[in-house]
């Protein structure tokens, strides 16, 4: 299945893109998608456990993904 991965702010700068697509086996989790992202150049600048969101809601690494989901890797927020 294919999942869209969204990157923002310092993470987008680190990996040199704001979105990418990863192909994962059925039953894969948000953490598995993150592992796929970690193979990209620049990913060593991501922290050990970044915040994740699936389809615009915060999610844990164990969150099961479905084809077409949007996984966001969320840098420390700084609104206000």
């Amino acid at each position: 299945m294919e999942v869209t991965v969204l990157l923002f702010a310092s993470y987008a700068d680190a990996l040199g893109c704001s979105s990418t697509t990863v192909t994962l086996p059925p039953g894969a989790t948000a953490g598995d998608a993150l592992s796929a992202i970690r193979r990209m150049p620049g990913a060593e600048r991501l922290p050990v456990a970044p915040m994740l969101a699936v389809n615009e809601e915060y999610a844990r690494p164990g969150h099961a993904l479905s084809s077409g989901d949007r996984l966001a890797v969320i840098p420390p927020v700084a609104g206000g």
């Binding site: 923002f8 702010a9 922290p47 915040m51 915060y58 966001a72 420390p76 927020v77 609104g79 206000g80």
Partner: protein, 142 residues
């Protein structure tokens, strides 16, 4: 209740007018502005970016929670995106309530929750021409 991410200048007085009703005895207006020094560095402006779909949802959820907790629908929140100069408003929160204690508490809880969980990021521009993401060094899990 109304929440929005905006790319135009925030009009705090307009937000205050939106929550003004005869039933309310107190209105609290919080305005966050761009400050000239952060961590000892001279700031000339801040660029705000967001995961817009999620930020809009989180902002609305925060206002909805505050409305339920404090029993008032008179809450308006706007957060600015784009490049802001010093003193410009990045966020404004207007809350009105029959009683002042609840108005203050709701206002405070909304700004603290925004800072905790709305996916918005600040790229600070410094006097020496450099730029840096605020908080980028602290990649801690929520």
């Amino acid at each position: 209740m109304r929440t929005a991410l905006v790319r135009h200048e925030i009009d705090p007085a307009g937000l205050l007018a939106e929550v003004t009703r005869a039933a309310n005895g107190a209105a609290v207006l919080f305005v966050g502005t761009v400050r000239e020094v952060n961590d000892g560095r001279a700031v000339t402006g801040i660029e705000y970016t967001a995961y817009e779909e999620m930020a809009a949802r989180e902002l609305e959820a925060i206002a909805r929670d505050a409305a339920a907790t404090h029993d008032t629908e008179d809450i308006v929140v706007e957060h600015r995106l784009g490049t802001l100069a010093l003193t410009e408003a990045s966020v404004a929160i207007a809350v009105a309530h029959p009683r002042r204690a609840a108005a203050y508490e709701a206002s405070r809880s909304i700004i603290e929750e925004i800072k905790r969980r709305v996916p918005i990021w600040k790229l600070e521009h410094y006097e020496d021409g450099s730029r840096e993401w605020v908080n980028a060094g602290t990649g801690a899990s929520r």
